[in-house]
Structures are given as C-alpha cells and as structure tokens.
C-alpha cells in the first residue's frame, strides 16, 4: 500500500478560499457572490483584494442564483457561494431554469456539505445534493478530497465554460495530496493500485478509504483506491479498468446511498460488467447533531465500515 502521510490538517473550505484568492489575482472576470456566510466560505482574502468583484446578496439564495446567471451574460464568471443545503435544495428550480437549462457559466460553490458539518444538525447537513445536481443535464459535479485538491479544483473550474457544482466541507482533515497538483475535471485519481477490491471514494471519504486500505493490508487484503473527485462526468473508463482487475467494488461517499456516487458507479457496472458492489453511504436518513467523527461512526461512514464493506464485497465475488 502506497504510504500517505501528512504534516498538516485543514478544512476543504479553506482550500476553496485559497483558490478564490488565486483566481482574484489571475482572472479579472471572476466575481464572488455570497449569501451572508463570508467567514464560513473563507472569502475574506478575495474580498479584501477585490472589493469591487464581490457581491453580498444577504440571506437571499434564490436571488443570488439569478444574479449569478445574469452576470454571465456580461462575460463574468460568477462563483455563487453558501452552505450546500442552501446552494442546492433551497434553490433547485432557480438552478434548473436560470443556470442549467440556460447553460450559464455559473459556479455553485457549496460548503458544509454532508454529515461532517457536525453540531448544527440535520437541517444543515444536506445528504441529497450530489443527486439533485447530477440529475441536471449539463451540470458538472465535483467533490474534492482535501485542502490542496479543493484549491486546485476551484482554480480549474474557472477555466471550464459551463455550470459547475463544487462541493466541500467544514471539518479539518489531513492534507495528503500535492500542493501543486493539476486538477483535471472528469479524471479519476488513482490513490493506490490493488488487486482484491476497488474502493471508489469521493470527498472526505477518500481519507477514510486510505485508512481502510491500511487496515485491509494488515489483514492481507490488497485494496485498490480511487478518488472520484468528479462525479459527473464520471470517469467510467477508470472504474471499469479497476473492476476488471479486482472483481468487486465498494463506493464511499458522505451522501444518501440513493442518488449519489454509488448509484452512478452501479449504472456503469450494470451496463458494462456485473460485479458485486457494496455501498458505504448514509442509509436513506437525515443526520443529527454531533462531532464529525461521532457522526461518521454512527452513520456507518468511517474507515472501519469501509473495511467491513470491502470484506462483504470480496465474499460475494
């Protein structure tokens, strides 16, 4: 198993803020919008350096999405930012009509996604956002795994012309990817090559998958680990190539098991190569208050659960 070490832990939302600061310096068309959550989205540096390119929308997410769509008409690249819950479910129709159907170059940037938002509880812990966003025709859906990858993804989506949903979060987690990585939309990242089971993970679950891989290795199981940071368009080739070798799959995501990465992978398998798949995901429920670690454990999303799922998948081969 390839060794992943880290010297620092940070939240992925800070990676977004760092990416925005770079964009502020490099791309004069980038405009940031926020619905009264500037501190939570780590936009302070961008705003300080580019006050004329920041639009405070107040607590009005629907209007923020519409204003963003309008800004693209003048050639601007709006980054509409808020919590994932308010960036998706609350404004689904606005995104559907004014952004996706209208094919507007809006970047919807959503922090505090998933259970690991923690203590605020279920009202804020959206677990359905990947599903909603990936169902929109033409929408690109990205869920990077750590600070560095989120920063790289933020910079990369400004170069891409089209609507994007960028999902990140609040918990402080290890930084284990390269600082100077090039982010390629739609291209899976091979974390570890293996032969016995493919663990396909996204977002915060990639680090859990690496830990699971180490536990499995100690038990003589050789796991292949793939980071799917882009859920749509999905790197089907990388997934199929992996299952050709391993013959079974575990998908791991901080999302409802209905409609997320797992279902996207299952579609690929059903069409191309039937192999056993186990889901590590929230079992069609809402979350609750707690620390991120407690919640990952209670809802079956930590490394231990990935290990168990891997063993079940292997047993079904």
């Amino acid at each position: 198993m390839k060794k992943y070490t880290f010297t620092e832990k940070k939240d992925t939302r800070s990676g977004f803020g760092a990416g925005m600061q770079v964009l502020g310096q490099q791309n004069p068309n980038v405009v940031a919008l926020c619905a009264d959550l500037v501190g939570s989205l780590k936009l302070e540096a961008f705003i300080k350096e580019n006050p004329e390119r920041f639009v405070q929308c107040g607590i009005s997410e629907a209007n923020m999405i519409g204003v963003s769509a309008g800004l693209t008409i003048g050639g601007k690249i709006p980054f509409a930012t808020t919590f994932a819950n308010f960036a998706t479910g609350r404004v689904y129709d606005q995104i559907r009509q004014s952004v996706a159907y209208s094919n507007k170059n809006v970047k919807i940037c959503a922090s505090h996604a998933g259970l690991t938002l923690g203590e605020d509880g279920a009202t804020h812990q959206i677990l359905e956002d990947i599903g909603m966003m990936k169902m929109l025709p033409g929408m690109t859906v990205i869920n990077p795994c750590d600070y560095n990858q989120t920063k790289a993804a933020t910079i990369a989506i400004a170069e891409y012309d089209g609507p994007v949903y960028l999902r990140f979060g609040r918990p402080v987690i290890p930084i284990f990817t390269d600082a100077d990585q090039k982010f390629e939309i739609g291209k899976a990242w091979m974390v570890n090559e293996g032969t016995d089971v493919s663990i396909i993970a996204t977002g915060h679950m990639v680090w859990e998958a690496i830990q699971a891989g180490e536990i499995l290795e100690a038990e003589g199981i050789n796991a292949e680990i793939i980071n799917i940071h882009t859920i749509k368009p999905l790197d089907e080739e990388a997934i199929l190539k992996s299952v050709e070798k391993t013959g079974c799959v575990v998908t791991a995501e901080e999302h409802n098991r209905i409609g997320g990465l797992g279902d996207s992978v299952a579609q690929v398998l059903v069409k191309n190569k039937l192999v056993p798949q186990e889901y590590v995901a929230v079992n069609d429920s809402f979350g609750e208050s707690g620390t991120p670690a407690q919640l990952l454990q209670k809802y079956g999303l930590d490394a231990k659960h990935i290990v168990e799922a891997a063993k079940r998948a292997i047993a079904r081969k």
Partner: protein
C-alpha cells in the same frame, strides 16, 4: 419611429400572436396582447440594439447594447413576434411556435439558440434577479447601456421577486428599468381575488425604488413618453419600476379584460373574428 408607425407594427404583432396561438392550439394570448405595445415601443423605438449594415445582430454577451428580459415567459408569443419583426430571425419561423423541433418553445429558452433570448424563463419570479445580474455586469464592464425586465402582476406573489427588490436599491442598480404588467388577471381569476398584491407602487417605493406609473399601458404615445421619462431618471442610485396598466387581451374585443384568455387558444371562428379587428400592416408570415 413615429407613433403611428409603431402602432402599425403593434397591429401586425397582434395578428402574429393570435395566429401563432391558434396554429398550435395552445399558448397565452391574453398577456401577450396586453404587452404588445410595450415590447414594440422598446424594440422599435427605445432600446439601443447592436446592428450591422442596418440589421440587428445577436450575441449572448450583449455588451454596449440595451438588454431586455422577459420574466413572465408565458407571454412568449409577443416576444417572438417582436424579435422576428425586428429581424432577429425569419418571421416564417413564427409558424413553428410550440411545435416539435421548433426553436420557439412554449416558454423562451437559450437552449435552442434562438437569437434575442439570453435566459430561459417560465418558472416565475426569476427574471428580475437575472436582469440585476446583467446590470451589475454592465457596471463592471463600464458599459453605459440599460437593462429592461418585464414581470407579471401575478408574478409579484413569488418570494424571489422581493429578494431581488431588496437587493437592487441596496446595490444601487440604477441602470435597470423594470416593468410590472398590471392587467389585474392571473390564471385562477382577478389578482385582487386570487392574492391581493395591495399597493405595489408603495411597496417598491418603500424598498427604495423610483416608481413611475403608465396609466394607459396600451397607448403607444403614453408608453413612449413614460419610457423617456424613466430613462431620464437613470443613474441616480436607484432602480426604476414602471407600473404599466394594460388590458389583458387588448386589441381583440372578446379577449379583453378577462382572465379566461390567459392560456386559451382561439378556434377557427374566433381567429377570424380577431383578425378582422387587427389590420395587416407588415404582411402575415
């Protein structure tokens, strides 16, 4: 353009509207007829549009030209007719309205790349936010042209409208002229009965808008005068709202003043009766 000429264009547009809706036996003639005079005045008199060799040309960015957004997208027939008559696309295409494989969808969309359309609309309440965004982009681009947006009065019941209404004065979006089509009708009946909007003028004033009323919203001279007045008030830190009092179904006697023609197509006899009241001035498509 002289008022009389604008009225001639409006008469042809009204003919187009009833013929389009009749041909596919669906669509929204009432609000379309009521807003005909406004859209003709905007496109044929008031708006600065991008032209090349005396013909209008379309690009999505719309830099250095005035922009129009239709938030109440169901009155697409009037917009399609005005765009075609202005030269954005062939008038013959009006015959494809709401039919399979048409660029003229029931509600306007950019998806089919129809010249003149910059955003999809139909799900109500979103257009003013989009117009505000486009107006902000103009300011960032140091582009001095104006953004116009039309909404329905029933549409004022959508919450997003009031998010946008709060936003625009706060950010001093003073290159924006919005209209409310006050025809007093919505699908389920008179607006006063379905959901009373109360005094929209006072509401917008309280939100920080400059409010102008055009009492005769189907009188071309009154509209043109109102538009010039509005233009004169731009650039002073406040967005402008024009309350446009129109008659639903205006120009066809049996369609006027009733919500019944909000979304109903005329039959053959009704079409003939309507066309008999509307002079053919530019040639039917």
């Amino acid at each position: 353009m002289e008022i009389e000429q604008l009225e001639k264009v409006a008469s042809q547009v009204r003919r187009d509207i009833v013929r389009m809706v009749h041909a596919c036996q669906s669509g929204h003639p009432g609000g379309s007829l009521g807003c005909t005079d406004l859209l003709v005045a905007l496109y044929f008199e008031r708006m600065k549009l991008k032209e090349q060799d005396g013909k209008v040309v379309f690009d999505m960015d719309g830099k250095d030209e005035d922009l129009f957004f239709l938030s109440n997208g169901h009155i697409s027939p009037v917009w399609y007719s005005v765009l075609a008559r202005k030269g954005y696309f062939p008038v013959s295409e009006l015959g494809t309205f709401r039919k399979l494989d048409s660029r003229l969808q029931g509600h306007p969309t950019t998806h089919e790349h129809l010249e003149g359309i910059r955003i999809a609309s139909g799900s109500l309440g979103q257009g003013m936010s989009v117009a505000i965004g486009a107006a902000l982009a103009k300011k960032l681009n140091n582009d001095k042209s104006t953004v116009y947006v039309l909404m329905g009065d029933g549409e004022q019941q959508e919450g997003q409208v009031w998010e946008a209404a709060t936003f625009a004065p706060h950010h001093e979006v003073d290159n924006l002229i919005a209209f409310i089509d006050l025809n007093g009708q919505q699908i389920d009946g008179p607006t006063l009965k379905v959901m009373n909007n109360r005094d929209l003028g006072k509401k917008y004033e309280a939100f920080g808008w400059e409010v102008i009323s055009i009492e005769e919203g189907n009188d071309m001279a009154a509209i043109v005068k109102g538009l010039y007045e509005a233009k004169g008030r731009l650039g002073h830190g406040r967005p402008i709202m024009i309350l446009l009092h129109t008659g639903m179904g205006y120009g066809v006697d049996f369609m006027m003043g009733s919500h019944k023609w909000h979304g109903v197509a005329p039959n053959d006899e009704q079409l003939a009766a309507a066309l008999a009241q509307l002079e053919e001035t530019l040639g039917d498509y």
